[in-house]
């Protein structure tokens, strides 16, 4: 068979080009550290890589959401904690003052202290986050206060969701303080994958989401036994008001107050435990997410990343082949019968 001179030449060139191509490809893979650099490299794996990346980004986002929720819940825990301490002190005083050995003066002094406690508790009930949102006003986070003075039952305090808050306006003189929406609404933050990807207005929550707001009536409201004048909201603040009124008049604390304070403390402890539970849930979701991510990352690496050892071996191999092809080309080009015809 005739080997034409052109074929000699072009075949040598082709094999050099082919090896150059190989070297280039491995160079790209090694320099990016990735086996797949474009969809065409492995379209089937690409689909998996995309969905793995998506899941991992989402887990990261849930972790961020969890961080935010944790900060918010810690704040709420702090406020509830503080209120519990205040109530403890108020209860101590109440039990103390029930003892007949204290004078009217002593009781009036205790009344002063209860006044301070009222301010403190009130402060906590109207607590705002760094974003300026009320912690205990449900979703009505931008109301001026969660608990306002009760104009319908003077001397007492009313939650803005209660009908006792009717009849007064915020400082702009226009916006009514009463806001039935404050009785509802709870902000849920997503910390895990949701089956139906849906949140309803009256959502009761599901394992994928954690509640980060509360409405004040639910946290601070209790079923009281204390006898109030009129029909103010049944909440711990008003129990304290009743206590202060009695003590300031030099009277013994009315019956039922001690029980109501106990009930308030219990109620807040339950809330605190709930918050703790939610914090735990965030923590465990985070841990689960991280370990899930770890195994996803492992799979992604298996699919996408270059095995460096294999890559370097491959590179050396292609390099050698290229050099060989170049040498062969130079040698073969030298061979011609004309060289011998002198």
């Amino acid at each position: 068979m005739r080997i034409s001179t052109n074929l000699f030449h072009s075949q040598g060139l082709q094999s050099i080009q082919k090896h150059q191509q190989d070297v280039l490809e491995i160079q790209l893979q090694l320099s990016t550290g990735k086996r797949i650099n474009a969809p065409g490299d492995d379209p089937v794996a690409l689909n998996q890589i995309h969905s793995l990346n998506r899941t991992m980004t989402t887990i990261d986002q849930y972790a961020k959401n969890g961080e935010f929720a944790k900060a918010q819940l810690n704040l709420e825990e702090l406020a509830v904690d503080d209120s519990v301490n205040s109530l403890q002190r108020a209860r101590e005083l109440t039990i103390q003052m029930l003892n007949g050995s204290y004078s009217d003066e002593d009781r009036r002094a205790a009344g002063e202290e209860i006044g301070q406690i009222i301010l403190q508790v009130q402060n906590m009930m109207n607590y705002r986050t760094s974003e300026g949102e009320l912690l205990f006003a449900g979703s009505s986070v931008f109301a001026e206060k969660a608990f306002v003075e009760d104009v319908n039952n003077p001397g007492y305090y009313a939650y803005i969701g209660s009908s006792n808050a009717a009849g007064q306006f915020e400082s702009d003189g226009l916006t009514p303080v009463e806001d039935p929406l404050a009785n509802y609404g709870s902000r849920f933050v997503q910390i895990g994958f949701d089956d139906d990807n849906k949140l309803s207005p009256d959502d009761k929550g599901d394992p994928s989401r954690v509640r980060i707001t509360d409405n004040g009536q639910r946290v601070f409201g209790i079923t009281t036994t204390t006898a109030f004048t009129g029909t103010p909201d049944e909440n711990i603040l008003n129990v304290l008001v009743e206590l202060k009124n009695a003590l300031s008049n030099g009277l013994e604390p009315p019956t039922g107050i001690a029980d109501d304070l106990k009930a308030g403390i219990d109620q807040l402890s339950v809330v605190r435990a709930e918050i703790g539970g939610r914090l735990n849930r965030i923590e465990s979701q985070f841990d689960a997410g991280e370990s899930f991510k770890l195994s996803l990352e492992e799979r992604r690496m298996g699919l996408e990343d270059m095995d460096i050892v294999e890559g370097v071996t491959e590179l050396t191999k292609s390099q050698n082949s290229l050099q060989m092809a170049q040498q062969v080309f130079a040698r073969v080009q030298d061979m011609s019968l004309f060289n011998y015809l002198r």
């Binding site: 065409g40 690409l46 979703s139 929406l181 902000r187 997503q190 990807n197």
Partner: protein, 625 residues
């Protein structure tokens, strides 16, 4: 003895010729398309010398090409297939990196957009978080715009390439025509074959085969006919040229260059018949990769725009106003065919996303509907339950999207518009396999899109056609329209259950408190929700980002397939080249050997002359004595 001298001079001539041909071969060792030539040396007719026949030497019987027509025609076809896949591969790898790159692609921008929605749902009253959502939506928009302009450039580039190649093909045809004439003249007037002219003509044909797939018919009289489209479309037949023409498609405004041929004075579209060469590669790339990627990507974008907007309509902004559009909703009109004769134009028809047309067409303008039942289409529905129902319908329609370009053809018999897939030219069918048609003057949802023919008051001519590409359109029209962060509708329906029946469905639509995050949380959840590509059971199978992945995988598959085809075809081509080279190519070593052989023969012939001279001298010397 005079015969001996004749033989000697004849053979001197013969080997001189042989040496010349050998030199010609050596000189053309690098000439493209050159076929080695051989001198045919034959013994001249023997004469009668008394009792026996005696030879009278050798002479040149002709110079012929070492040529195989079969090898040459196989070369044409392997060449055009190789060129096709090479073109396809280089164009598609170029686009692959742009539309479907692994990092910093659309996926990245979409992820960031959804992350910003998540962050806002943590803290819906934060102005920083609200602004961030708007910023991410803007960067998504500008990324899509960049991408669209690159794709448009590519489209422009392919149009130009098609026109340029058609010019080249026509030029080649012209020169082949001239060569045919010359070859014909030579063959008529002499007995020699014009070898080098034939080589040049084959080379020109080979060049055409680089541009498109052709079939050749060599006639005995030396002329050649060239056909395209698997032998159906004559390009050069009986030495007259049928020129190709590159011009815009029937739908002029779609800006797509097609290839036409004139067959018997009839202009015929032949783009779909060209499957090889650079042209075949460009055309395949344009339909199956570029166009498909644009439609797939556009479908995902349409899904994003529709589902985002509709979820946003459900909520209420900082001022308690119902949510408006986040992205500009799809609104397009078909383009006309130049062949239309009726007085109906594309702009009389409109295509948009309007899943509950005639019942409820948000964005809602009023907070709470005044009239019961609501009178205006953009009034809030009477109850929250109804509103949720409309949202469900909208999401279902998103699942019905198909990555298609629609050709609407008027059917006089039924007074309606028939739906065709523009790429496959097949009728678009509904779930039960019946072709879809919408009556003139009415409107309907087809594959998730609202086709409105109510503006068509005139009657089009039969078979008047209109072309609409809703998914390509959204790529161009993708815009963020919300501008104020306060307009982001983060809060959802008020949770107040006024009649305490345990369900909000019977409540009138109303806003929740300002700190509520229900609506924005639901918008963020669209990231994971399955919305696209409903199966037969009506359940969507892909999330919005999954729609993007699907496009990327399709692109990857195309590149991979092309790469495999290219490797295979270039191997086939290499074999063909090797075969042709080993048959017709010039081997310098062989020529060197021939040179030695002919030179020796020439020297020997010269020696004969010398011998004759010596014989004479001997004879003369004898007579002198």
């Amino acid at each position: 003895m005079a015969d001996m001298l004749t033989i000697a001079s004849l053979s001197l001539n013969t080997f001189k010729k042989a040496l010349e041909v050998t030199s010609h071969n050596v000189a053309n060792v690098s000439t493209e398309g050159y076929n080695a030539q051989r001198v045919i040396i034959q013994s001249s007719a023997p004469g009668n010398a008394g009792n026996n026949y005696q030879g009278s030497g050798a002479m040149v019987g002709g110079i012929e090409r070492v040529y195989s027509e079969a090898l040459q025609t196989q070369l044409y076809s392997s060449q055009s297939l190789k060129e096709r896949y090479e073109t396809q591969l280089s164009l598609s790898t170029q686009i692959e990196g742009i539309v479907a790159s692994n990092d910093e692609g659309i996926q990245e921008f979409l992820n960031r957009y959804f992350s910003s929605l998540q962050a806002l749902s943590d803290n819906p009253t934060s102005t920083t978080n609200r602004q961030q959502v708007l910023d991410e939506a803007s960067s998504l928009e500008s990324h899509i715009n960049n991408l669209t302009s690159v794709l448009a450039d590519t489209n422009y580039q392919t149009n130009n390439q098609v026109s340029d190649i058609v010019v080249e093909v026509n030029n080649r045809l012209k020169s082949i025509q001239e060569m045919n004439t010359q070859i014909d003249n030579v063959l008529k007037n002499t007995q020699n074959t014009p070898n080098d002219l034939l080589d040049q003509r084959d080379q020109a044909i080979l060049e055409i085969s680089q541009y498109m797939d052709i079939k050749t018919y060599y006639h005995d009289n030396g002329s050649v006919d060239i056909y395209a489209g698997n032998g159906q479309i004559p390009l050069l037949s009986s030495n007259s040229i049928m020129q190709l023409e590159a011009s815009r498609s029937e739908f002029q405004d779609e800006n797509r260059t097609e290839i036409y041929a004139y067959i018997g004075d009839q202009k015929q579209l032949i783009s779909d018949k060209i499957v090889g060469g650079e042209l075949g590669g460009i055309l395949d790339f344009r339909d199956n990769m570029l166009g498909k990627a644009q439609n797939d990507l556009g479908l995902t974008l349409n899904g994003i725009v529709a589902s985002m907007n509709w979820q946003h309509y459900q909520g209420y902004d900082m001022d308690g106003q119902p949510g408006g559009d986040i992205f500009a909703p799809l609104a397009t009109s078909p383009i006309d065919s130049v062949e239309n004769t009726g007085a109906v134009y594309g702009e009389d028809i409109s295509v948009s996303f309007n899943p509950n047309f005639g019942v409820s067409e948000p964005p809602y303008t009023s907070n709470v509907s005044g009239a019961t039942p609501p009178t205006n289409l953009d009034d809030q529905p009477q109850t929250y339950g109804e509103k949720l129902g409309y949202l469900d319908t909208a999401n279902k329609e998103v699942g019905n999207f198909q990555p298609r370009e629609y050709m609407l053809m008027y059917n006089q018999g039924t007074d309606s518009f028939d739906f065709f897939d523009y790429t496959t030219k097949q009728a678009v069918v509904d779930g039960s396999g019946n072709p879809i048609a919408v009556a003139r003057g009415s409107s309907a949802n087809v594959e998730g899109l609202y086709f409105d023919f109510t503006g068509v008051t005139n009657v089009p001519a039969d078979e008047d056609s209109f072309l609409v590409k809703p998914h390509k359109q959204i790529l161009e029209d993708f815009t963020k329209v919300i501008s104020e962060q306060g307009e982001l509708a983060t809060r959802g329906q008020s949770p107040i259950d006024s009649n305490s029946d345990g369900s909000l469905d019977d409540e009138p639509p109303a806003a929740a408190a300002i700190g509520d995050n229900v609506n924005i949380a639901n918008m963020a959840s669209l990231q994971s929700a399955k919305l696209l590509f409903s199966g037969v059971d009506g359940k969507a199978t892909e999330s919005l980002l999954g729609g993007y992945s699907k496009m990327a995988v399709n692109v990857g598959m195309y590149v991979r397939g092309t790469d495999i085809q290219y490797t295979a075809q270039s191997n086939v081509h290499d074999v063909m080249v090797a075969q042709r080279e080993s048959y017709s190519g010039v081997s310098l070593d062989e020529e060197a050997a021939n040179l030695v052989r002919y030179q020796q023969a020439y020297e020997a012939s010269a020696q004969i002359v010398a011998t004759v001279q010596e014989l004479f001298r001997t004879l003369l010397d004898l007579s002198r004595v």
